[in-house]
Every structure is written in C-alpha cells, then in structure tokens.
C-alpha cells in the first residue's frame, strides 16, 4: 500500500515536471499526460480506500513510511507518509475530483495559448494537495500548504494579461500568507514544546500533558489561522471571490478538492490538539463566515461570485461542525460539498462557455439549450440547498445537529445553531435564485442566447459523474464508518461539555429537531426564491429599493475590501511612503552629508598638503637655494678673499672679546 501512496504522490509531480519543460512539444500539448497521471492516481487510491473499508478499525494505519530528513544535534526531523482512514478518504475525494476537473479542462481550455502550461500547473496543484494529505508531520503539511498557495497563485493569475486576474492572484497569495504566519507560529509552538513535528508524537505528547492549558489553546488558534486563510474564513475570506478571475475549472478545483479543503482537512487532522476554547473560537469564526457570506451571495449578479460566496459560507458550516464537536459532520460536509460544488462550478463553466459572459443579467432561459448542464446543475443546487435525499442534506443536517446538541448542552452558545440554521435557509434562497435567473424564464440577451449550445462530451461527462456522486445517501455510511471522531477527552481535555459526553438522549433529540428544522428552512428558502424569481409575485427590485442600505451593504460585501484598502493597504503604503521620505531625506542626507564632509575634509587636507606640507618642503628648499645662491658669492675661489675674511673674523673675535 505504501507503494501506492508514493506513486499517487509522484505521478502528478512527474506529469508536472514533464509538462513544464517539454509539454508544448508533446502531441496534443500533453493534456493526456496530466489527465492520465491523475486518473492513475485515482485508480491507485481505490485499493487504499477499499482496504480502509474492509479492514476497518478506528485507528487503522494502512501504510506508513518514515525517513530521516534533518539530523543535527538533538534535533531530528523526519519526513514520511502516513495513510490512515482520514487520508484514505481524502485521497479518493481529491483524486476523483481532480481527475474530473482535468477531463473537463480538456474541453474548456481548448485553444488557449498556454494550454500545456495550464495542465502543468493543474498537476502541480494536485500534487501539492495530495502531498498535504499524505505527509505524517506538521512540517510537511506546512511545506505542501505553501505549495498549494503557490499553485493557486499561478492558476488564479493564469490569464495574467488581465490586470484583474494578476491582482486576484497576488491577493490570494498575500491573504493566504497572513494566515500562514499564524500557522507557522503554531507549528513552532508545538515544535518548541514537544520537540517533534510528527503527528503521532505531537498527539502523544499532548495526551501526556506535555503541552496544555492556555499555551495549547494559543497553538490551536494559531494553527487555525492558517485554515482561516486557506479555507477563506472571516476575516481573510476576501481572496476567494476574486479568485474567480482564474479559469472556471480551476475555481472548481480550488473550491472543491484542493485549496479550501486544505484548511478543513488540517483542522480535522490536528483535531485532538484543539482545546475546547480553541474549538469554540473555530465554531464562532465558522458561524460568522457562514452567515456573512450567505447574505452577500443573495445580491451578487456574477454567477461565479454567487458560487464563491456560497463556498465561503459552506466552509463556515464545516468549521461550525468541527468547532461544535461534530468532527464527522464537518468532514462529511467537506466531502459532499466537494462533489456538488465541483459540479456547480463546472456547470457554471459550461454556461459561461456557452454564452461568453459571467453576468446573470445576460442569461436566462438556457434550460432548453443546455439540458444536460441544466439537470446536473439543478441536482447540485438542490444538494447544496439541503433537500433530501441529496448529499448536502445529510451533511448539513449533521452539522446542524452537532451545533444544536452543543447549544442544548451549553445554552449560552445556542446562537451558533440559530444563525447556522438561518444561513442554511439563505443558502437555499440564493441558489434557487441563481438557477431561476440562469436557466428559467425568458432569455434576457437574445443574441447571446441564440449562440448558446450544449458543451462537448469532455465537459458533460464529468458533470454527469459528479451529479451521481451528489446523491449523498451513498456516502453517509462510509463516512460515519471511516471518519469516527477521536476521543477528545484523552487529549486536550474538556472544560466545556462537548456532545456525546452529554448523553445519548440529547444527541438523539437534537438530531430529530435539526432534521425537521433544516427541511423547513430549506423549503421556505426555496419557496421564497420561487415566489420572487419564478412566479414573480414579489418584485426583487422593489424590495431592493426599500431595503436600500442593507442592499448596498451586501452588494459591497460589507465593505471588507474597502476597509482593508483603507486600513492595511493604504496604511502600508503610507508607512512605505513615510519610510521612503525618511530614507531619501534623512538616511540619504546623512550618507550624502558624510560624503560631502569627507570630500570637504579631503579638499582641506589636500590644500594643507599642497600649501602647508609642500610649501614647507619647497620653502625650505627655496630658502636653502636662495641662501646657497647668496653664499656661493662668498666662495670666490680667490685665496686672498679668504684670507681677508679670516682677518675680519679674527678682528671680530677680538672686538667681541673686548666687550
């Protein structure tokens, strides 16, 4: 099995390496290579998955291999692969969706000028995500975490000729980095106190109480900061809607299998080290995100933007699930969401491919032109809206049950459940709005409508496969089986009562109430959307005008971008300018001043040398030359002169002696 795991990791990387160097010269620009590598990875993941199901045990380790990586002094860093139940499950989801996205991209990206480059990046993206779920230590997670960030930057900014795409790539990368700093600090706390990066050793250390209390809570929240960035949680969610500038299949990959899933996976993987306080923090971040993004999605007009906000909202749901103790529920929702959100994105890509626009104002009535896209999209929609028996219903219901159970045991936190439930209703509303505006009614743009056509087979087949997978009843059994919640009490300890410790009755009644209430809010959301956008009994425009302030607030996405622009971006620019002035005026001034001073001093020194020292030397010479010239007159060579002078000298001596 370890061979499978290594191959799964290496195949996409190999495909990437070949693609990036010689992709252009391969037949069909090498799209078959990346796609083939991904499908092969999926086929290799299947035996692992089957093994996990057949030989099921709660802590079953399917395969494990550890290598020494860095050894210096007492510090030993190992690097290895670990395949357990969670990994097996994630592997199947990631490879399957990635394969389908590859397949779909063949049709969607046909004729692009950087076709081979696109597939190379796609392979790199898949490789990074697979590495993230396969490694057995936090350091490896961080490495692949950053690789995911880089690949997302490359793919979001793939059409970098457009400024908006280039900006979106940068925004995604920088926003993610902010979260990653926290994550890195968190990992370093773990390493500093426990001396290891390895998952098992870290968890064992925490179970032994080597790291506990506030420090552990801080470490958990810092780790979660990475997930806030990567999984687009409040307040670092701003990059995800902009990431729509990338090619649509990439959006599908980011939103379903790779990028945003990384954060949720990481929280799931490190679940046992979160203290109850950290989990509560996660739950509140999740519920804020879920509600905020859902409300923004109501008013957006760009089809992909609605889906983007819907993703943010659903990621919030997952965090609520994980935060309230619904480990299985959160990861289950990750899975089901991966399938139906990939379906919705690929469906919207199909629509965009047909009408060459992302604005819903240009669409309408496409149901007749694109039947396969419509039906598969509808399945994705009802699944996301939480209609039984589709997958979204089961997973969302599990999250709501977990939130309600938590609320019943801790009445002061019942608000989490209420707001999550409300968000679920809003979800149903905006998704049906999307479907009605796109596929139903009369075409709003006749010309675009007349050119619209159903997409090619490579695009419709992935849609159909995903539509089948969105019928969620086929998942629940396996998920509950594989993703059993770890026993938290033996790790970080419990301060707040978490579900399952409060007794079976609460869990049971919570589940029934959650199920009924979730069906009620979903159907009322659908009913409201149908009334407004299909029967047109209520005018959306009128209400939009009546609730103008709220509409503006939502339309401008709670002014997050403006706020960040005004505070962080402008603040940074302002600081930079200040520092630039400081640099150019003060530092440069000092340097230039020192230079000028040196030059001046040198001049003075030079002058001193020229005038003073040279003058002295020359002066001595001149004086000597002058006096020599004078004195040589005395040396006449005439002996009688000398005698005369001797005579005078004698006379002088005599005269002087007299006095």
């Amino acid at each position: 099995m370890i061979t499978n795991a290594i191959l799964i990791l290496l195949l996409p990387f190999l495909a990437f390496t070949i693609q990036i160097f010689v992709g252009k010269r391969l037949p069909r620009q090498g799209d078959w290579l990346s796609t083939g590598a991904m499908i092969a990875a999926f086929l290799l993941a299947v035996p692992i998955f089957v093994d996990a199901i057949v030989n099921y045990q709660p802590d079953y380790i399917i395969a494990q291999q550890t290598y020494d990586w860095i050894n210096f002094g007492d510090i030993q860093v190992t690097f290895g692969l670990l395949v357990d139940n969670l990994t097996a499950f994630m592997l199947i989801v990631v490879t399957l969706i990635s394969s389908l996205v590859h397949l779909y991209s063949i049709g969607y990206m046909h004729g692009d000028s950087r076709y081979s480059r696109y597939f190379a990046y796609l392979s790199l993206f898949s490789f990074s995500m697979l590495g993230l779920i396969l490694v057995d230590n936090f350091f490896g997670v961080y490495v692949f975490w950053e690789l995911v960030g880089v690949s997302s930057y490359l793919l979001i900014g793939f059409w970098f000729e457009k400024d908006s795409a280039a900006d979106a790539g940068k925004k995604a990368f920088i926003t993610n980095r902010i979260g990653d700093v926290g994550m890195f600090a968190g990992i370093m706390i773990l390493f500093a106190t426990l001396g290891t990066f390895n998952f098992n050793e870290v968890f064992t250390g925490i179970a032994n109480g080597e790291l506990s209390g506030t420090m552990l809570t801080v470490a958990g929240i810092l780790l979660f900061m990475g997930a806030i960035g990567k999984s687009a949680q409040f307040p670092l969610h701003v990059w995800l809607p902009d990431a729509m500038e990338g090619p649509t299949p990439v959006s599908a990959l980011i939103h379903a299998a790779t990028m945003v899933a990384a954060g949720v996976y990481m929280v799931g993987r490190a679940y046992v080290l979160f203290t109850p306080e950290a989990l509560l923090f996660i739950a509140y971040i999740g519920v804020i995100t879920a509600f905020m993004a859902a409300t923004i999605a109501i008013v957006q007009k760009d089809i992909k933007r609605v889906l983007a906000y819907s993703t943010i909202s659903q990621l919030g749901f997952m965090m609520v699930g994980l935060g309230t103790g619904g480990y299985t529920a959160g990861l289950f929702h990750l899975t089901t969401h991966a399938f139906f959100k990939a379906l919705l994105f690929l469906g919207s890509g199909s629509v965009i491919h047909a009408v060459h626009s992302q604005e819903m104002d240009d669409m309408g009535g496409l149901r007749k032109k694109m039947p396969i896209t419509f039906w598969t999209f509808l399945i994705g929609t009802v699944s996301l809206s939480g209609v039984p028996p589709f997958s979204g219903f089961w997973s969302k219901d599990a999250i709501l049950a977990s939130a309600l159970e938590f609320g019943m045991l801790n009445p002061s936190h019942l608000g989490i459940y209420v707001v999550t439930l409300l968000s679920a209703g809003i979800t149903a509303f905006y998704m049906l709005r999307l479907v009605y505006m796109t596929f139903a009614g009369e075409p709003r743009d006749k010309e675009k409508y007349s050119h619209a056509h159903e997409s090619p087979m490579t695009m419709t087949i992935p849609l159909s496969v995903l539509a089948v997978l969105s019928v969620g009843t086929i998942w629940w059994g396996w998920v509950e089986h594989l993703l059993a919640k770890p026993d938290l009490a033996s790790y970080a300890g419990t301060v707040l009562p978490v579900p399952h410790s409060g007794g079976h009755d609460v869990a049971h009644s919570a589940h029934i109430i959650a199920m009924i209430s979730s069906v009620i809010v979903a159907s009322s959301g659908i009913l409201l959307a149908t009334t407004v956008y299909y029967w047109k009994k209520i005018s959306a425009e009128t209400w939009g005008r009546r609730l103008r302030p709220i509409y503006n607030l939502l339309w401008n996405k709670y002014y997050f971008d403006e706020f960040y622009q005004a505070t962080f971006v402008n603040g940074t620019l302002w600081k930079a300018r200040l520092l630039a002035v400081f640099d150019s005026k003060i530092i440069d001034g000092v340097v230039n001043g020192a230079a000028k001073l040196t030059v001046g001093l040198s001049r003075l020194n030079g002058a001193f040398d020229m005038r003073g020292v040279d003058g002295l030397v020359n002066g001595v010479a001149t004086v000597i030359a002058w006096s020599g010239a004078r004195l040589r007159l005395v040396q006449t060579g005439n002996i009688q002169n000398y005698i005369l002078m001797a005579l005078f000298a004698v006379i002088a001596i005599i005269v002087i002696q007299q006095f």
């Binding site: 040589r632 040396q635 006449t636 060579g637 005439n638 002996i639 009688q640 005698i643 005369l644 005579l647």
Partner: protein, 102 residues
C-alpha cells in the same frame, strides 16, 4: 732712551701688517710668498723679544731658528706650487687661480 719690549713688539706689528698687506693685496704669487716671509719674521721677532724680556731661558730663540728652517722648507714647497701654477695657467697672477669657486 733704552730699547724695551714694546719697541720690538711695535716693529713686529708693523712688519706683520706689511706682510699681511702684501699677502692680501699683491697679485703676483711670488710677492705674496714674500709677504708670508715677512709675517713669519714678525713672529720670530716676537719669539726672541719675549724670550729676552719675559722668559729668560732660550726657548724663544730655539723656536725662532725652528721657524726659519720651516719657512725655508715652506718656501721651497710654495715656489714649487707657483711653478706648477705657471705650468698650468701660464701666469703667476693668483687671481687667475680661482677654480675652487667653479
């Protein structure tokens, strides 16, 4: 009037001055040598006079004889120099012998 020491010294001084004058002013080398002889003889008079009047042994007279001998030798050497001078310059005018200045 008796002849005393001062008379001798006076004669000696006159002789010395005349010699010196000849040494300084005469252009002829031989005349200059003659001036030198006058100076030497002025000294001799002094030696003898002092020996007679102040220190009554014969040291002064011995010294005078010694000087006469030395003067003769010196004159011989000096005349040889003058001859050489004449050989070189074809004159015995000592103004011409100023090559030390050049």
């Amino acid at each position: 009037m008796t002849i005393g020491l001062s008379h001798f010294l006076f004669v000696s001084a006159v002789l010395f001055s005349l010699g010196l004058l000849a040494v300084i002013s005469k252009k002829n080398a031989v005349t200059v040598l003659m001036g030198v002889e006058l100076i030497l003889n002025a000294a001799n008079i002094n030696f003898v006079a002092f020996a007679k009047y102040i220190d009554t042994d014969l040291d002064g007279q011995v010294m005078a004889l010694f000087v006469i001998v030395t003067a003769a030798a010196a004159a011989a050497v000096a005349l040889a120099i003058v001859l050489n001078l004449y050989e070189r310059l074809r004159t015995i005018n000592i103004d011409s012998a100023d090559s030390l200045a050049h």
